[in-house]
């Protein structure tokens, strides 16, 4: 008899109920915090497992000679960084150098390229499709950019003082509050489904 599925479901529901009751019953607050601490330790271990999985995937790619150059660079960089941090600490000079002069410039540059790419994509939108929704999207984007600040050193008072605040504080705010309401309802539904065992994201 396979006891794995009912056991894991019972554990998930039991701990979920304990954490939930800990919010409403002060006597269960210590127990709730202890359970949450266990969850934090598990999350830290999951990060380490993710690192090992990344290593394994790229190691197999090297063995299969499938884009092995990129995988080799990734594994070498990962092993060096991990060894430096493990031996000298996360706030050592070498670990900070790797982070400040390799990691941060690469990721920031990618984001800068993304900004230019999005602008070019918006410019080429009408080459592919011209319909009402496209016009609304481009029009809203232009209004927000016009109201985001001075253009070429010139202030546009109507956009920065009237139109852009109206879009940000009325239209966007209303849509976002509705979205948050939907997220809250969805979160409650998901929580209830997990607590009654209808959803089992842990795979039982």
């Amino acid at each position: 008899m396979n006891l794995r599925a009912p056991l894991s479901t019972a554990v998930a529901i039991g701990f979920g109920l304990l954490v939930l009751l800990g919010i409403f019953i002060p006597d269960l607050a210590d127990l709730r915090n202890r359970i949450l601490t266990w969850a934090m330790l598990l999350a830290a271990m999951a990060l380490l497992l993710g690192l090992l999985n990344l290593f394994q995937v790229h190691y197999q790619r090297i063995r299969a000679k499938e884009k092995s150059v990129y995988s080799l660079v990734l594994i070498v960089a990962m092993v060096i960084t991990f060894a430096l941090t493990l031996l000298q600490g996360s706030d050592s000079a070498s670990a900070e150098w790797v982070f400040n002069y390799i990691v941060v410039p690469i990721e920031t540059s990618l984001m800068a390229v993304l900004a230019i790419s999005l602008t070019l994509a918006a410019a080429r939108t009408f080459q592919h499709r011209t319909d009402l929704m496209n016009l609304v999207f481009i029009g809203t984007l232009l209004v927000l950019l016009l109201g985001a600040g001075p253009l070429f050193g010139m202030e546009l008072p109507y956009f920065t003082g009237v139109l852009s605040p109206y879009i940000n504080n009325v239209l966007a705010l209303g849509a976002m509050r509705g979205l948050l309401m939907g997220v809250a309802l969805g979160t409650i539904t998901t929580g209830v489904r997990i607590l009654i065992g209808a959803d089992r994201p842990y795979g039982a």
Binding site: L36, T37, V103, L120
Partner: protein, 530 residues
């Protein structure tokens, strides 16, 4: 008025009346002879039965008749050893009772008593001869005519499921009295009333061959083909998009990208601040943050949650530096924590790059609690009991809770201020929803521009969740305008202004090109090819 009685024979001819009279007399004589013959036969059959009755049976009969005279069947029941339970105690399945059939007919009423007694004795004799629980009964049943049997005793028809050799019968069925079959194979050959062995059950032969070919319809085959193509396309190496772009379009892309880069770099290289400063009244939430920090007492512990992703560090730095500068000016004790693995390193980078000369930073009079793993659950745990949360503090901040700045901190509400520095709206939402139940006051938030619409939804709520917000480069510039201290955000302000202008021009010109020049050309090509 009486109806005259007519004799039907009056109108018949004489020869026919004579014939009818003779037939009636002949029928009466035949009936008298038949009755006399049956009476003689009954007498002959009764007397030998009484004579052949054994002594022990006659003794039992006398004893029971002396006791009160039950029915003959009951009187003889104890003369049959090991009588099957089925016949003794279980009620017979009698068909529906018919009053007309049960009522004695005139013929029955006319029967003499001695004939009834003879019938009873026949029944007694039949039951006394009972030997096999199944065989004799079945023989008797076979002797009966089929049309005389009730429906529940009729042999099963060919269409009945009970003719199936694998039919085991229903649970509530009466035990069936099937005709005894003589086994003709195996060790039980020659015996009757046994379960058949070969060849019916253990028939040796080739098992049926079933086809393994999947029977699918044409529609199902078409869907499967589409799914197969989709899956196969996922593993195919896609053609490089850059190689498919035509040379004029690629040149245009390079021109637009170059213009945007120049717009960003030239103001930085020039060093002159030409763009007008933002108006302070356009950012009331920034003013609320300024007032909250400006009223902090000196040495107040401030928790700075630095949940910033590396890619957005440049933008968040422009917004966060004015606020951190303000806190350091107020002599606040900064305690950093992050739920992002790179968060503590980025916070350290910010302090060392922008505030290395500030005495509190130079003397390491701040604390980094490090990385807080576990996401939302960790935030909830930290907000409830900060001291019990497992933290990965850097080596330079071992045992952070032993430091003087944190001696008085027992809960997250003991911090004078909680400042969120976030790049993603979801990270901010996680802290706002999990930490605010433990706080008696709202949080201050510094974010990227993309997170601002989400965070504005939490502004001005009751109870207060977000008391102040500074978002993006423009938010940082507003805050510096409030402080009348232009140091960080205004470095980027002109570049930001020119970049905005170039981006709007590129979108407008690109849209015009695509709508007016490019699209009609494509349409003409399509017409020609058609």
């Amino acid at each position: 008025m009486s109806t005259p009685h007519h004799n039907p024979d009056e109108n018949l001819p004489d020869w026919l009346r004579e014939l009818r009279r003779k037939q009636s007399e002949q029928a009466a004589e035949d009936a008298a002879e038949q009755a006399a013959a049956s009476a003689n036969a009954s007498t002959e059959a009764n007397e030998p039965a009484a004579e052949q009755e054994p002594d022990w049976l006659a003794e039992i009969r006398k004893r029971h008749q002396a006791d009160g005279g039950d029915s003959d069947e009951r009187a003889l029941s104890d003369t049959q050893p090991n009588r099957p339970f089925r016949l003794d105690s279980r009620p017979l399945n009698i068909p529906a009772f018919d009053a007309e059939e049960a009522a004695p007919s005139d013929e029955t009423k006319a029967r003499p008593e001695w004939l009834d007694e003879a019938d009873d004795e026949d029944e007694i004799q039949t039951e006394s001869d009972y030997a096999s629980p199944f065989g004799d009964d079945i023989d008797e049943a076979e002797e009966l005519e089929a049309n005389e049997l009730p429906s529940w005793l009729q042999p099963p028809s060919e269409s009945s499921p009970k003719t199936n050799p694998f039919y085991m019968g229903d649970f509530d069925d009466e035990p069936m009295l099937t005709p005894a079959e003589v086994e003709n194979a195996g060790p039980l050959a020659g015996l009757s009333g046994v379960l058949p062995a070969e060849p019916e059950v253990a028939k040796i032969g080739r098992s049926p061959v079933f086809s393994t070919r999947l029977e699918v319809s044409e529609s199902q085959r078409r869907h499967a083909s589409v799914l197969h193509t989709l899956i196969a396309s996922e593993t195919e190496t896609r053609e490089d998009f850059a190689s498919t772009v035509k040379r004029p379009a690629r040149l245009l892309n390079w021109l637009m990208a170059g213009a945007m880069l120049l717009a960003a770099l030239l103001p930085l290289l020039n060093g002159q601040l030409a763009a007008p400063r933002p108006e302070a009244q356009h950012l009331p939430e920034g003013a609320a943050m300024f007032n909250g920090i400006d009223t902090l007492p000196a040495g107040a512990p401030v928790l700075v949650v630095f949940d910033v992703q590396t890619a957005l560090y440049g933008e968040v730095r422009a917004a966060a530096s004015p606020v951190i500068s303000h806190l350091l000016d107020r002599q606040a004790r900064l305690i950093f924590i992050s739920t992002q693995p790179t968060g503590p390193a980025l916070a350290e980078r910010l302090l060392q790059s922008d505030f290395a000369q500030v005495p509190l930073v130079a003397s390491n009079d701040y604390i980094s609690l490090g990385y807080l793993p576990g996401g939302m659950a960790a935030v909830r745990s930290f907000a409830s009991d900060p001291r019990s949360a497992p933290l990965s503090a850097p080596a330079t901040f071992t045992q952070p809770w032993q430091r003087a700045s944190l001696q008085a901190i027992q809960s997250v509400d003991d911090f004078a201020l909680v400042l969120l520095v976030v790049s993603e709206g979801e990270d901010a939402r996680m802290w706002l929803e999990q930490a605010t139940p433990e706080l008696s006051k709202g949080l201050m938030v510094v974010s990227s521009a993309q997170a601002a619409p989400l965070l504005r939804a939490y502004l001005n709520m009751q109870p207060s969740i977000v008391d102040g917000l500074v978002a993006g480069v423009s938010g940082g510039a507003h805050y510096e305008r409030l402080r009348a201290k232009e140091t960080f955000s205004f470095i980027y302000w002109d570049s930001y202004s020119y970049q905005l202008g170039v981006a709007i021009l590129v979108i407008l010109l690109g849209g015009l090109y695509g709508r007016v020049i490019h699209t009609p050309g494509q349409a003409n090509k399509a017409k020609v090819s058609a």
